[in-house]
Amino acid sequence: MRYKIDPGLYALGAPDADSPVLISASFKMSFDLLREALPARNAWVLVLDTDGINVWCAAGKGTFGTEELAGRIESCGLSRVVKHRKIIVPQLGAPGISAHEIQKLTGFKVAYGPIRASDLPDFIDSGLKARPGMREKTFTTGERLSLVPVEIVHAFKNFLMVLPLVFLLGGFSGQGMFVANALRFGGATALGLLMAIAAGCLVTPLLLPWLPGRAFSIKGLWPGITFGVLFLVLRNIVSALPAASTLESAAWMLLIPAISAYLAMNFTGCSTFTSLSGVKKEMRWAVPAQIAAVVLGAMLWITSVFI
C-alpha cells in the first residue's frame, strides 16, 4: 500500500479562477478525506510535501510548514491559476504555518479551515466562517476506540518477547512433568499478562474520561487493579490450578496494575489533550514507580515459582 501522494496542485471537479484553494498534506488519507468531504464541488487542492505524514503530525515536525507552503504556492504558479488571494489551510496545520509570514511572502491570505474535513462545505458556504465547535479537537469514545488496535499490536510485540520466558519458568513450577507444567502455569501467566494489556490498552482508553486522576498512569491503575483481582479469580477457575499463594497473588497485584499504568501512560501520545511538559512531569514519578513495581512483582513471582 502506498500512503503517499505526489505534492502539487490538484483539481476537484472543474475549478476555475474563482474557485477556493484548499491546502492538504501528501498523506493519502488526508487527501481522500478532503475529497470525500467535497462531493460535486469545484476546488483546487494544493498538496504539500509532508513525506506521506498527516497534517497535524507534519505541522509538528515542520514539514507542513511556512517555507514549504510558500515554496509550493510559487512553484505551482497559484497566483496565475486563481484570481483571488485566499487559501484555506486546515486548522490542525497551524502549528507549522505562520499565516502572517505566508501573506508577506506570497500575498495569499490564510483562512484557517475547520478541524474536521466534513465541516468544510458548511465553512465554505458561510463565507469561510467557522461555527462554534468546528475549532475544538474532540476525543470521543469512537475516536478513542479506533486507536485501540494499534496500541494492542504494540503491546503484543513485547508480550511475544517475554512469552518463551514465561513458559520456561512455568515448566519449573509445580510437581509434575516439565511440559505439562509449562503449559498450565505458563498458560496462566500468559493470561495474566494479556489481562494487563487489556486493562491498559482497551479498558483505559475506553473509560478515559471517567477514570479518576489526571495523570494517565493513575487512570490506568484502576482497570489494572480490577483486572488483577479478576485474574486471581479466573486463574483458579480456568486453569484448574491450586489457588495462588500469597506471594504469587502479591506478585500479580503489582505486575498487572503496573503494566496497565505503563500502557495507559503511553496512550498520552494518542490522546488529544496532553502536553509535553505535562507528560515529562508525569513520567518523573510514574516511570520509577512502574519499574519498581514490575521488578518487585517479577521477583516475587519467580520466588513463588521455585518455593
Binding site: 478515559l208 498520552t268 507528560v279 508525569e282
Partner: protein, 107 residues
C-alpha cells in the same frame, strides 16, 4: 461531556498582553479553546487545556505568545531517552532539530 484536561499548572504558555493587538488569531488556531478575546485583548481563559502545539505562537503577528513546543507523547520521551530517533511519530528528534527555528519565533 466536559472538556478533557491533563495535569494542572504545568504548561509553558506565556501571553504578553501589552503587545497583543487583539487580532484573535490565537483563538482561531487553538484546537483546545485556550484563548478568549475580551476588550480587544486576548486572554488565557483555560490554561490547563493547552497542549503546547505552538499554533498560537506561530500565528501571532505581534509575537505576544510564547510556548515551549512539543508533543505530549510518553513513547516519544522514552524513545528519545533510549536514543531511538526514527520510530515514526513517536520520536522527539524533530523538536531537537527545530529548537533553533523555534527560538526565532519566540518559542
Amino acid at each position: 461531556m466536559s472538556k478533557l484536561v491533563y495535569l494542572k499548572d504545568v504548561v509553558t504558555l506565556q501571553l504578553n498582553s501589552e503587545s497583543c493587538s487583539g487580532c484573535a488569531m490565537c483563538a482561531t488556531v487553538c484546537p483546545r479553546g485556550v484563548f478568549e478575546i475580551s476588550h480587544r485583548k486576548a486572554k488565557v481563559a483555560d490554561r490547563d487545556a493547552c497542549i503546547e502545539c505552538g499554533a498560537c505562537a506561530q500565528n501571532c503577528p505581534e509575537g505576544a505568545v510564547s510556548v515551549r513546543v512539543g508533543v505530549g507523547c510518553a513513547s516519544a520521551v522514552i524513545n528519545s531517552m533510549l536514543g531511538i530517533n526514527n520510530s515514526g511519530c513517536c520520536s522527539m528528534d524533530q523538536y531537537e532539530n527545530d529548537k533553533a527555528a523555534a527560538k526565532g519565533t519566540g518559542c
